[in-house]
């Protein structure tokens, strides 16, 4: 059982990041897309904390807190948009929301 | 009522329609209220009643006057004594029978005690609906004392059938005066206990103040009677307006509220209980001696004609319209039930409030479904 190095964490966050992007790209349901974005942000956080642990420096963790703050803000506004959307379009599928198309 | 023109049906609006009842803990019986909601606010209600309809008026046409008396107790089973009083007095008016003073006094005392038990049951269930669990048990403890008096007097606690046409069936048991006086002495202290628990309790105020407002003119228009009418500021009580039984000789005053909300109805009923105590005490103190039943023919055959007589039941004006065709059986008996008419005002009182208030308003109108459906 080799000793766990930062490399392991970096690889884990890369995998998580890719799963997140796949989720964003392939899913039609806007709520699931939002969730996949959360996954991506978590991957970023893991990286930050791993390097903070590697370099014994608190700035990584501080930045991770800011990422979490941002995720919360983004989720709130995103879900607000979904509710407004659902109220007048009765759908949450990304394909059907093509209002901008003329 | 809900303005539903035939075309726009009740359910086409995209609001939420919720059924409350018919079996629901706080509808005081089998009442189903269809609530039309916009989110939490109530847009309109529709009451579906008739689950407890036993066709009392049809039965009356096939029973003799004496046989029908017990049916009367089963309508408003909480205030059975006042039902019996109303019916007997209506028939006595039809046959112009003179009821001896002792019978009048005992009738008055028992009716006032019955009013207290009805108000106690109302207070207990009303507080329980709003969330205060404890008053229910205090009210039932007091109610027990009074039900014992009924039990000693006529053998029954709830549907008493205490009175007969023309007066009373039984002489008052010895110890009747002492027991009534005992109740009159201990009861005011207990009432203060409820007042201490509820009257200036901030949460109770918040749940009842300005909830289910019914202004005076609306109340008269809706034909609402009893404490609900008096809480809207109309000083009208049949015991004062058209005295019956021994109410002329009693001095008591009629409590009224100002803005007709749930809190005022609560205060009016609490004060009414105190007034009933005063009447009961006076009745017992000045109980005259003498016969307990008037000159009643063996077989009751009232003359041809009709009469409408109403008394002040705990819920409101309880009226009897009896048409007689000279035979031993009434030709038509119509009962004017106060709960049925008061329930009609529910829609006006509840409009614009929240769901939780429907429960409070149903409690404050104090309806008994046996009387609403007859």
């Amino acid at each position: 059982m080799p000793e766990i190095t930062t490399a392991h964490y970096v690889m884990l966050s890369a995998a998580l990041f890719s799963i997140g992007t796949i989720g964003v790209l392939t899913r039609r349901n806007v709520v699931i897309i939002l969730m996949s974005i959360e996954l991506i942000l978590n991957a970023v956080n893991i990286n930050l904390v791993a390097f903070s642990n590697q370099l014994m420096n608190m700035s990584g963790q501080a930045f991770a807190v800011f990422v979490i703050v941002d995720a919360a803000a983004e989720a709130a506004v995103g879900l607000g948009i979904i509710i407004a959307l659902f109220r007048n379009k009765e759908t949450v599928n990304a394909d059907e929301i093509d209002l901008m198309k003329w | 009522m809900i303005e539903t023109s035939p075309t726009s049906t009740f359910l086409d609006a995209n609001e939420l329609v919720i059924n409350m009842g018919p079996q629901h803990p706080s509808t005081h019986g089998v009442l189903r209220v269809i609530l039309k909601l916009d989110g939490e606010k109530i847009l309109g209600t529709e009451c579906v009643i008739g689950y407890l309809h036993r066709g009392v008026e049809k039965i009356a046409e096939n029973r003799t006057y004496m046989q029908f008396a017990p049916y009367v107790d089963r309508m408003d089973y909480v205030a059975a004594v006042s039902n019996g009083l109303g019916y007997c007095e209506a028939v006595e008016k039809l046959m112009a029978i003179e009821v001896p003073p002792r019978a009048k006094y005992v009738r008055t005392v028992l009716t006032e005690l019955n009013r207290i038990t009805s108000h106690l049951l109302w207070l207990g269930t009303h507080a329980l609906d709003i969330g205060a669990i404890t008053p229910l048990f205090y009210c039932f403890r007091e109610r027990e004392e009074i039900l014992k008096i009924f039990e000693n007097y006529c053998g029954a606690r709830l549907t008493t059938h205490a009175f007969r046409i023309g007066g009373l069936q039984y002489e008052t048991y010895n110890g009747f005066e002492e027991q009534v006086r005992a109740v009159c002495d201990t009861f005011p202290g207990r009432l203060d206990e409820y007042e201490m628990l509820l009257t200036n309790n901030r949460i109770w105020l918040e749940r009842t103040k300005s909830v289910g407002i019914l202004k005076a003119d609306e109340a008269i228009d809706f034909g609402v009677t009893g404490p609900v009418l008096r809480a809207s500021g109309v000083k009208w009580d049949i015991r004062k307006a058209m005295p019956y039984a021994a109410y002329e000789e009693m001095d008591f005053d009629i409590p009224t509220g100002e803005n007709g909300d749930t809190y005022d109805r609560y205060l009016v009923r609490m004060e009414e209980m105190r007034q009933s105590l005063r009447i009961a005490r006076q009745g017992v103190d000045r109980l005259p001696a003498g016969p307990i039943i008037g000159k009643v023919p063996k077989v009751i055959k009232p003359p041809v004609g009709e009469v409408y007589h109403s008394i002040e039941a705990p819920k409101g004006e309880l009226g009897y319209y009896i048409v007689s065709d000279g035979s031993t059986q009434p030709y038509r008996v119509r009962v004017r039930p106060p709960s049925f008419v008061n329930l009609q005002a529910l829609d006006r009182m509840v409009r614009g409030l929240l769901i939780a208030d429907v429960v409070a308003v149903i409690g404050t109108i104090d309806i008994v479904l046996g009387e609403v459906d007859r």
Binding site: - | M20, G131, A132, N201, I203, E206
Partner: protein, 388 residues
Amino acid sequence: MPFSFPPSIEPFVLPALYIVILVAVFPLIAGYIVLLERKVMADIQVRLGPMRVGPHGLLQPIADAVKLLIKEDIIPAKADRMVFWLAPVISVVTALVALSLVPFSKYFFVADTNVGLLFLLSITSVGILGIILGGWSSNSHYPLLGALRSTAQLVSYEVALGFALIGGLMVAGTLSMQQMVHAQLEQQMWFIFYQPVAFVIYFIAALAETNRTPFDMPEAESEIVAGYHTEYSGFRFALYFLAEYANMVVVSSIAVTLFLGGWLRPFPNVRLLDFLNYAPILAMFVLAFFVFLGASRERRPIDKMGLAGLGAVCALIGLLFLVPAVLDWVQGLFWFVLKVFLVLYTFIWIRFTVPRYRYDQLMRIGWRWLIPLAMANVIVTAIVMILF
């Protein structure tokens, strides 16, 4: 220790033992809290409460537990099976995990991290998921509405709870639960006197957190919208019940630890009050005496024997406490349990004397009164601390 464990897992043994004790004993404690509640309710309402099962109804909780186990476990027709099973589990698990952070006494605690209170707060906030999923998975209209309403209530009162705790933490200066108690020991003052406003706000928010009257809107039976656990029956309902009481204990122990001096004896530094150290022994003997008194008055022989046995056990424990080592160990536990009992008693007491708030009033109080007040309290405390 009779034998020493391999070094690497040595730090895990004691906490593991405490965890086992907690998880095994707590359902029983929750049952007896329910019995306590019913007895107090009966007492307030001029009646006796459960008397039939066992002497003075003492075996009632066991009867309740068995009934809930045997009862048929109904799952609504198109309910989402997995989530239906998962929801009560989340509630109970979060409640019990929160219990692990509570410092019962100097020696008896499962874990003490230096983010103790924050971790506790986050665990209780996860408990809300159990409620939402429970309401949603029963696949019927009313529980869903009830779940949404109770979630909104919990989330908004959690903000108030958080701010009230910040007030307390500023004085304590640490997040770890044990250090809090030591801080109160050094400053020789329970923090309730430094932060009375925070304590009051915390208490009200705690009432709302555990859905107790006057904030028990969600499962107010007189509403037409039934609570989130309407469709649950049998053992699943028992899990929700257990979660509720566990939450109550957690919330009151946070109050005790932060504001009422945790497992400290009242006036710990005053030498002449040292006789208080022997309070546990005294308490046990007084308890034994009352139990024997009760036993003598029992009619049924089996009750008489049962109570006599209980009395003997109490007396025995009293004797055991005489041993100084044991006394020292049990000292903290006794005072902590006593204080938690008092806080629980006020929870129950309030439940049976106060009517219920309407939903919008409840939310208005939460947002318009509690949160601004709590924030103001934090600011004032900050200013005061800077000046002195």
